[in-house]
């Protein structure tokens, strides 16, 4: 009986070893595929959570898969990043081994995309600079009024309107220079910013937005969606 137990312990130990090696290999493969098919600049970090991995693979259903993309991998300015968590990912093992995975049903997707202030400034044009201030954003921009360039600054709130990120500023003031009050009131509205978030794939919906240290965090969510290769 003791001998059988020793054999059982060895088998279980071997299975744990195979499990850890397999999960590492699978994460590497998923990361490589994402980099190739997503046309990324680098290989993202993929974490297939949960233990054991082999039983998830046999069942063809993965509880929790996390993908982290940095600015360099996305080819975007510093501070941009994306963290996506996929729950209930269904991929039959036989399809994986035969290389015939064409679509991946997923029970839910939660993600946070950080749009760096540099990226937003670039999109908004001019010499716009953005930085976090409390729960809002401080915007500094040079505007043309009556043939004069006036540097203005204001604090605005960040909200979502449909697929647009909207920064609505309150009172503005001159940035480092004295600007007559009537001029400031006249041009303050020009500091309001709208940034159209590109259409999201896989039925992802924008759910929330909040300023963060490096950029604006946009949260996305989808339920019962199907991931397909982008054509």
């Amino acid at each position: 009986m003791k001998a059988l137990l020793v054999v059982l312990a060895l088998v279980l130990g071997l299975l744990v070893l195979v499990d850890r090696v397999s999960v590492g290999y699978a994460e590497g493969q998923v990361a490589t595929q994402l980099a190739e098919k997503g046309d990324l600049q680098g290989t993202p970090e993929v974490d297939i959570a949960g233990f054991p991995f082999l039983t998830q693979a046999v069942g063809g259903r993965y509880d929790d898969v996390r993908i982290a993309l940095t600015a360099a991998e996305l080819g975007q300015p510093e501070g941009t990043r994306a963290d996506v968590t996929l729950r209930g990912v269904q991929v039959p093992l036989s399809s994986v081994l035969s290389g015939s995975v064409e679509e991946v049903p997923v029970e839910s997707v939660d993600g946070t995309a950080t749009l760096s202030y540099a990226l937003l400034s670039e999109q908004l044009g001019g010499d716009t600079t953005l930085r976090r201030e409390g729960d809002g954003l401080r915007i500094t921009k040079t505007v043309d009024v009556l043939g004069q360039s006036l540097p203005l600054t204001a604090v605005g709130t960040v909200t979502l309107e449909g697929n647009e990120l909207v920064v609505d500023v309150g009172a503005a003031s001159g940035a480092g220079v004295e600007v007559p009050g009537f001029l400031v009131d006249r041009v303050a509205d020009s500091l309001d910013l709208r940034y159209a978030v590109p259409a999201l794939p896989f039925g992802l919906q924008l759910t929330d937005v909040a300023p963060a240290e490096d950029g604006v965090d946009i949260r996305v969510q989808a339920t019962d969606t199907v991931l397909r290769a982008v054509e």
Partner: protein, 280 residues
């Protein structure tokens, strides 16, 4: 140090014919009840096998703390089944919780019994029992794969036929011996693997077409595991019925030994079949 050769006190016919008969009963249960009563029938069949194994394993291996071991084994069987039946998306990995909790309870049960003799051997027996009943629970998932219970039926038949062929060949010609004192031969092992592969090949079109080679691989792998575990089970019952040092109660019915021989291979093959169905 070498272990003294065991000498079976069981007649070869009892060693092979009774397990063969019980194998037929086991296959009829796990294949027939799901056909008649669906998932409830499958649960009932698995529970019967699990509880049968718990009772006979405790008797045959002579685990100390009879009532406690029975209770731990039965509770583990029920818990394993519930873990695989109740959730919307049952997962094989959830059985680790049952095994972990079961191990702790088994340790406590062995530590608190009096007199505390054969502690390590009894704990080893309890752990093996926990793994076996949890493993049998995976039969519940086997019939619920996307391919349906038809492929599960083929897998179960391959295991059953491999067991039967092994027993019948070893009844007639247990040569060359695989272990001293155990009426098992290499010929029986090889032929049982061949038989399992043939069954899977014949059933390759059941429950969706499977290629001839994958079918043969599935059958041979299942039959190989079956044959090896059948050999282990034979060794366990020979040791239990050993003239020189009875591990089990001398009054133990040979049928108890046969239940272990018939059910243990199914326990080993259930997760293997599940994994192979996912791969092939």
């Amino acid at each position: 140090m070498t272990t003294p050769a065991t000498r079976s006190a069981l007649p070869a016919r009892v060693h092979h014919l009774q397990p063969a008969l019980l194998t037929v009963v086991a296959v009829a249960l796990v294949a027939g009840l799901p056909e008649l009563f669906g998932d409830l029938g499958r649960l009932a069949a698995v529970l019967v096998l699990q509880l049968g194994l718990v009772l006979t394993w405790v008797v045959v291996t002579g685990i100390q703390g009879f009532a406690g071991s029975l209770a731990v084994g039965a509770a583990a069987a029920v818990a394993a089944d519930l873990v695989l039946v109740l959730p919307d998306h049952p997962e094989l990995g959830d059985l680790l919780v049952v095994l972990g909790m079961g191990f702790l309870v088994a340790v406590l049960q062995q530590m608190f019994r009096r007199p505390r003799e054969d502690l390590v051997a009894s704990l080893a027996g309890s752990v093996l029992l926990l793994v076996a009943v949890a493993s049998l629970g995976t039969l519940l998932l086997l019939g619920r794969t996307a391919e349906g219970h038809d492929r599960a039926l083929v897998a179960l038949l391959a295991v059953g036929v491999a067991l039967l062929v092994g027993h019948f060949v070893d009844l007639v010609l247990p040569r060359p011996h695989l272990a001293t004192g155990v009426p098992r031969g290499l010929l029986g092992l090889v032929l049982s693997v061949v038989a399992g592969a043939v069954v899977a090949w014949l059933g390759r079109d059941v429950g969706g077409t499977v290629g001839a080679v994958p079918a043969l691989v599935l059958g041979a792998a299942l039959a190989g595991v079956t044959a090896m575990v059948a050999l282990v089970a034979s060794f366990v019952v020979v040791e239990a019925a050993d003239d020189d040092g009875l591990r089990a109660d001398p009054s133990t019915s040979p049928w108890a030994l046969s239940v272990v021989q018939a059910v243990l291979p199914f326990a080993a093959c259930a997760p293997v079949a599940l994994a192979l169905q996912a791969v092939l």
